[in-house]
């Protein structure tokens, strides 16, 4: 497999100037998570393709991070970009109570790749709220409330996720499990 060539992305003077402007606005108005605001010098990314990203200075970098370990299919895969464009032209949004063909098909495909008989899908906005709902569902199903999670695991940045996570707060390092009943 190959990633699209670097030459496919010309970086004009205008795009370099645009990157500088974006950086200034970011530092003035964007509040970054997991960070002390004044100690940040975030990298500007102006473009991405396949396994590569381009920074504000026009330098190409090989993306060994997949961002936050999420771009499994690489950047700007043309099939996915096209699907989003087509869906945007057709129907951008509709409430979850209504049947929608894209949602139905996504649920069918996900049920198809997940193991065993996991056949129904509750969709969320991201991983942290998926964990929230999984825990809520488990508690309602069993009528029990305790959660066991592994030492130094991470299950998201929201309330339940954080409580199922042994975050570095100087807790006893000999604790092998994090037990939460909140």
């Amino acid at each position: 497999m190959t990633s699209p060539a670097a030459e496919a992305l010309p970086l004009s003077e205008a795009s370099l100037r645009g990157a500088g402007h974006a950086y200034e606005l970011d530092r003035r108005h964007v509040f970054h998570g997991w960070a002390a605001q004044d100690l940040l010098t975030p990298m500007t990314i102006t473009a991405a393709q396949g396994s590569y990203v381009w920074d504000g200075g026009g330098n190409r970098l090989l993306d060994f991070s997949s961002q936050l370990v999420n771009t499994n299919i690489g950047h700007q895969h043309p099939h996915v970009v096209q699907a989003i464009q087509d869906q945007a032209a057709k129907l951008c949004t509709i409430a979850p109570e209504y049947v929608n063909d894209a949602r139905s098909e996504a649920a069918r495909l996900i049920a198809g790749v997940t193991p065993g008989d996991l056949n129904k899908i509750l969709f969320t906005n991201g991983g942290a709220d998926a964990v929230e709902h999984a825990v809520r569902m488990a508690r309602l199903h069993t009528g029990r409330h305790k959660i066991l999670s592994a030492f130094r695991s991470y299950h998201g940045g929201s309330f339940t996720g954080r409580h199922s996570t042994l975050l570095p707060r100087g807790r006893n390092p000999t604790v092998r499990w994090s037990i939460s009943s909140s």
Binding site: N70, N72, I84, K120, L122, L140
Partner: protein
Amino acid sequence: MIPPPGYLAGVRELATRHGIVLIADEVMSGFGRSGKWFAVEHSNVVPDLLTFAKGVNSGYVPLGGVAISPEISATFSKRAYPGGLTYSGHPLAAAAAVATINTMRDEGMVENAAAIGESVIGPALRGFADHHRSVGEVRGIGVFWAIELVKNRLTKEPIAPYGSSSSLMDKLVAECKARGLLPFSNFNRIHVVPPCNISAAEAQQGLDILDKVLDIADGHTV
């Protein structure tokens, strides 16, 4: 951490025996990252609930979710489930997921992730552990790897304490970027987590950069 052989099967058995719901959090490990669609497949374990996000549509539009067993779904067959989200199953995110899953399957990306881990990243990282004294441990599978950096090979004291970074870690990350590599780092670890469809040549190029940057770390390890 990769669970030792038999571990997850044992957890599954205990959970079943005591009526405990087993939730597999596959938010980061799912959708090809481990060289299988889901990491639990390496242990032949089926959880009761499985959480996912990230790789489901590579985050082109935010999406996550919970895959639910028939038993748990049945709990809510005549009783309403108390929860939901305005954007649950958002059409743009769902359309991106459909295209992502179909494309990953058509282009053999899960198999590619497994092969890259086995033939390129794994051997390179085991080599780093042998010839870089700053490397305390390497572990991983597929395109999901970690390099633990230490100050001392015997005590394995990390080069940054748990929960924070250090000036040396910051320097190593900066050196990677200066050489054209965007790494993922956390505390004392550098992760090798490229896309599932990275080519062997691209992966090798990134590993060669890491190899040189680890020379710098070696100078700080006894």
